[in-house]
């Protein structure tokens, strides 16, 4: 399995405080990697660092063997690395289909002059984007709500739509920032199935969450972080047994969860 994303010694310091310190991990082709840790562990900072929203203080991020450290999000998107956001971020006043079309910018956009004159190339690109969007909506069973205003839909749908927007950019790797935060147990299961199906499309997934059960039922491998540092790394089953993880991070809540 070849390595798609390689993170080495990633560090971010905020005014003397290390939010993330010397974190290293790699993600193989078509793998689902979980990044877990309690609230405040620096998970979102890691996503921001990898996705170019925040520049790292030290360390290196390589994607498809190219150094992309601190690269702007839109350039990463062009290279096939796309992320979603923790809070449901969709274009709330627009229809589901329009949301997806906006996500398909890279397929859709033919260049400034070409779009103004609606050249044949521009038309071809639009058709390609429309086909891509229809296919995605069909695939995730959103076609029936394609003309619904996104902001009026239940939270779970909006989360799925967030994933659709990301997929519309035709990524080879997507970074999902807390995709099940605030969802019911039933909705969580649905999102988990969606992510598994995303992998079946040949897309590599990195998912960040603190919901241990969700992560262990989904990921091939997990990286546990606490206080911005790596605590453990490995298959979910092994990591869960790691006494260091149970004590330092999962503690009572995990013990309680296992007792259920």
């Amino acid at each position: 399995m070849s390595t798609l994303l390689q993170v080495e010694g990633l560090t971010r310091v905020y005014g003397g405080l290390r939010a993330v310190g010397d974190l290293s991990f790699s993600v193989g082709q078509n793998e689902i990697l979980g990044l877990i840790g309690p609230n405040g562990a620096g998970k979102t900072t890691v996503v921001n660092l990898v996705s170019g929203v925040v520049k790292p203080s030290a360390g290196r991020v390589a994607f498809k063997n190219e150094d992309v450290t601190g690269m702007a999000p839109h350039l990463l998107a062009r290279r096939g690395l796309v992320r979603t956001f923790q809070a449901t971020v969709v274009y709330g006043d627009r229809t589901v289909r329009e949301n997806a079309m906006r996500g398909a910018y890279l397929t859709l956009y033919p260049g400034f002059v070409a779009t103004l004159f609606d050249t044949p190339a521009a038309k071809r690109k639009r058709e390609a984007a429309e086909a891509l969007v229809s296919e995605l909506l069909d695939w995730l069973e959103l076609t029936s709500v394609a003309d619904t205003i996104a902001g009026s839909m239940p939270y779970g749908y909006q989360k799925t739509l967030g994933i659709v927007i990301a997929l519309a950019a035709r990524p080879s790797l997507i970074l999902l920032d807390e995709p099940v935060a605030g969802l019911s147990a039933h909705e969580t299961d649905q999102v988990r199935d969606t992510i598994k199906r995303v992998r079946e499309r040949g897309i590599t997934v990195v998912v960040i969450d603190h919901n241990m059960r969700f992560i262990s039922g989904l990921c091939d491998r997990v990286v546990v972080i606490a206080h911005g540092q790596e605590l453990a790394q490995g298959a979910p089953r092994d990591v869960l047994r790691d006494p260091k993880v149970i004590e330092a991070y999962l503690g009572k809540s995990y013990a309680a969860a296992r007792a259920e």
């Binding site: 996705s51 929203v53 702007a72 999000p73 839109h74 998107a77 062009r78 796309v82 992320r83 979603t84 956001f85 971020v89 969709v90 274009y91 709330g92 006043d93 627009r94 079309m101 906006r102 996500g103 398909a104 910018y105 890279l106 859709l108 956009y109 033919p110 400034f112 779009t115 103004l116 609606d118 521009a122 639009r126 029936s144 709500v145 394609a146 003309d147 619904t148 205003i149 902001g151 009026s152 839909m153 239940p154 749908y157 927007i165 990301a166 519309a168 950019a169």
Partner: protein
């Protein structure tokens, strides 16, 4: 979130029929819109023929010219930034064009291009830096920037004539010395400008602009180069503002710093706000309204400004969507009565 959920369609209620009806209605709206545009253009074209009054003709020309300024500002607004320096860029276009014509004796067309290019160049210099700022900071920076540009016009007396400005600017071409001719010239320029802006807004560039305005973060992660897009639009819009300024100077035959200050930038913003900021028709309605209204209250300049101020307060407090929102509300009210 806004409280518009009541108007939007909820999940489950919308079957295939619903979607179909909606599309049919959209097509109907398009037909109405096209007819309205046609009527508006016809009215504008016939305007000089229905009366002999040169004053009304002048008003028409001024409206046409300010449509250029207001719609170009609308482009910037649609990327999510409100520039309070737009009149400054008008001024740059005006002075550069006038100086090229009067000092270098260049043909008007070349000078006009020069003026627009100068405004665009300044925008290109400033844009990449200021467009990184968010909402309120952008407003404050452009506010001060506009003041700096105006101060340059006042202080650089050897070029600009200082506070007195430059007088005796000739008509662009001898044929355009005649008011009717200039009116049609301005109208053509305005229609071109509106058409161009409409084309941008309905193209994929427009879609990307809407994405950036509504959620810059998501837009960037979809691969949209947000800053580059905003700078491009800013440069285009400022070039158009330069054209507005240059044409205005040649129409009025003089140029002075007092036409390009804070109040004038504000006027352009107000045209957008009063008309409605979410649609290109907004600034057009606003231009007509804000150019005509002062003339109705002629002789009561102060009172007119007071009324303006009060309108602004009321619009912002009660109708942030401008006149367009008002018509939409009335339509909805009528529709609910009927059903």
């Amino acid at each position: 979130m806004t409280d518009t959920t009541s108007e939007t369609v909820r999940v489950g209620e919308l079957g295939p029929t619903g979607a179909f009806e909606r599309k049919a209605q959209d097509a109907g709206n398009h037909r109405v819109r096209n007819l309205l545009i046609l009527a508006f253009v016809a009215f504008a074209a016939l305007w000089p023929l229905v009366h002999e009054n040169t004053f009304l003709l002048t008003m028409g020309t001024l409206v046409a010219l300010s449509v250029i300024g207001a719609t170009s500002l609308h482009l910037i607004i649609r990327t999510g930034h409100i520039s309070f320096a737009h009149a400054g860029f008008m001024g740059v276009g005006a002075y550069v064009c006038v100086l090229l014509v009067m000092k270098l004796q260049l043909p008007f067309a070349v000078s006009l291009a020069g003026g627009a290019a100068a405004a665009a160049a300044l925008a290109l210099l400033i844009g990449p830096v200021v467009l990184r700022l968010t909402g309120k900071y952008f407003v404050l920076v452009t506010f001060l920037l506009g003041e700096i540009i105006r101060m340059v016009f006042v202080e650089w007396t050897s070029m600009t004539g200082g506070s007195n400005g430059i007088f005796g600017i000739p008509a662009p071409y001898p044929a355009l010395a005649e008011p009717h001719a200039f009116y049609y010239f301005a109208l053509a320029a305005a229609l071109l400008c509106v058409g161009f802006c409409a084309r941008i807004l309905t193209s994929e560039v427009g879609r990307a602009m809407d994405s950036v305005r509504e959620s810059e973060r998501v837009a960037q992660c979809s691969g949209i180069p947000a800053l580059q897009l905003k700078v491009t639009i800013f440069v285009i819009a400022c070039a158009l503002a330069g054209v507005h300024g240059a044409l205005l100077a040649h129409f009025l035959h003089y140029v002075d710093p007092s036409s390009f200050g804070m109040v004038d930038s504000l006027n352009l913003v107000v045209m957008n706000v009063i008309g409605g900021m979410n649609h290109l028709i907004g600034p057009i309605i606003g231009s007509v309204f804000l150019t005509i209204l002062p003339e109705l209250l002629r002789g009561y300049v102060e009172l007119q400004r007071v009324i303006f101020g009060i309108i602004l307060i009321v619009v912002m407090a009660a109708l942030p969507g401008g006149i367009l929102e008002l018509t939409a509300r009335v339509r909805r009210l009528l529709a609910s009565r009927r059903s």
